[in-house]
């Protein structure tokens, strides 16, 4: 593996941490706020809705025992 690929992987692991869903979810939430602002909706309320939802998805996934769907 090239040095660049290894460095990229290390940066991704550093940012994504234990659960990549959180990083992806945050990126989508910020993108949605920006889109709504573009169509003149002051979408500050999206963050207090999206963030607890993301956290819940992540912790409930972590709490799921091995083998359980």
């Amino acid at each position: 593996m090239s040095y660049v690929a290894r460095a990229g992987g290390a940066v991704w692991r550093f940012v994504a941490g234990d659960d990549w869903r959180l990083a992806l979810g945050v990126a989508i939430a910020i993108g949605l706020v920006a889109l709504l602002v573009e169509v003149s909706v002051n979408a500050w309320w999206l963050m207090p809705v999206a963030v607890p939802a993301l956290l819940w998805v992540s912790v409930s996934h972590a709490a799921r025992p091995r083998g359980r769907p």
Binding site: V26, G31, L55, S60
Partner: protein, 253 residues
């Protein structure tokens, strides 16, 4: 000092104090078993590397346009904050072991003893383990210093808060002559997660163009709101898991 600047200073201080306690445990374990000079040299080299990172990237970050900066920084803080909060909720719910510094110290000491002693006065093993330990524990703090400091254009304040936290932790360990097992690390980690998540939500939405009702005052509602959410999730998880399955069997957390 404004309310947001005070929040920045408290967040950086707490985050740095928690990571410094963990890094100190590694240095103490290596210092007491392998000798202090190489252990301290490794820790010192890592601190210099982290300071160079902050000094090198800080001016580049502060030169970005404010909205771009807030989206990038808010997003990163939110991701880091949610990771801290996730672990805190799992610990609160009894699904993840509480961090125990005495146990960590004993494990590090055991590993250090199992390696062959140094052939010369310079112990490469102690140097490397301490360098790596302090660098890894400090990397996230360095990014927190960079991001929250750059966003408020107060890198000096963020760096000072981090340095103060390190000094307090080192002084406390020197006085106790032992790992700081009585520091309420798990509670501090929860608080850091709450602060980073709240600032992250605030700045990322502002950077994306939204206006919070009341401006920075909104943070006063967001911080207790995040704590309440975390508590509700931990309570719900604890109930669900104690009824349904054995928490010890849970997969990677």
């Amino acid at each position: 000092m404004t309310g947001a600047e005070l929040g920045v200073a408290i967040s950086v201080f707490l985050a740095c104090a928690v990571e410094a306690v963990e890094a100190l445990t590694i240095v103490l374990a290596l210092g007491t078993t392998r000798g202090w000079s190489s252990a301290l040299a490794g820790a010192g080299a890592a601190v210099v590397a982290l300071a160079a990172l902050v000094a090198g990237l800080g001016p580049a970050l502060t030169s970005l346009p404010l909205d771009v900066l807030r989206v990038i920084i808010g997003g990163l803080l939110l991701i880091f904050g949610l990771q801290w909060l996730r672990k805190a909720v799992l610990r609160w719910a009894g699904l993840k072991e509480m961090h125990d510094e005495l146990l960590a110290f004993e494990e590090e000491t055991e590993i250090a003893r199992s390696h062959a002693p140094a052939a010369s006065s310079f112990d490469g093993y102690a140097f490397t383990v301490c360098f790596k330990g302090v660098l890894l524990e400090g990397l996230e703090v360095a990014f927190i210093v960079l991001t929250v400091g750059a966003n408020q254009h107060r890198l000096d304040l963020a760096a000072a808060a981090a340095a103060l936290a390190v000094l307090v932790v080192v002084a406390a360990a020197a006085a106790a002559r032992a790992p700081l097992a009585r520091v309420p690390e798990n509670t501090l980690k929860l608080l850091v997660g709450v602060m980073l998540t709240s600032f992250g939500m605030f700045w990322s939405a502002e950077g994306a163009g939204a206006d919070w009702p009341g401006g920075e005052v909104a943070l006063l509602a967001m911080i207790p709101g995040v704590i309440l959410c975390a508590w509700a999730m931990a309570t719900g998880l604890r109930r669900a898991t104690s009824d349904a399955w054995d928490p010890a069997a849970a997969v990677r957390r």
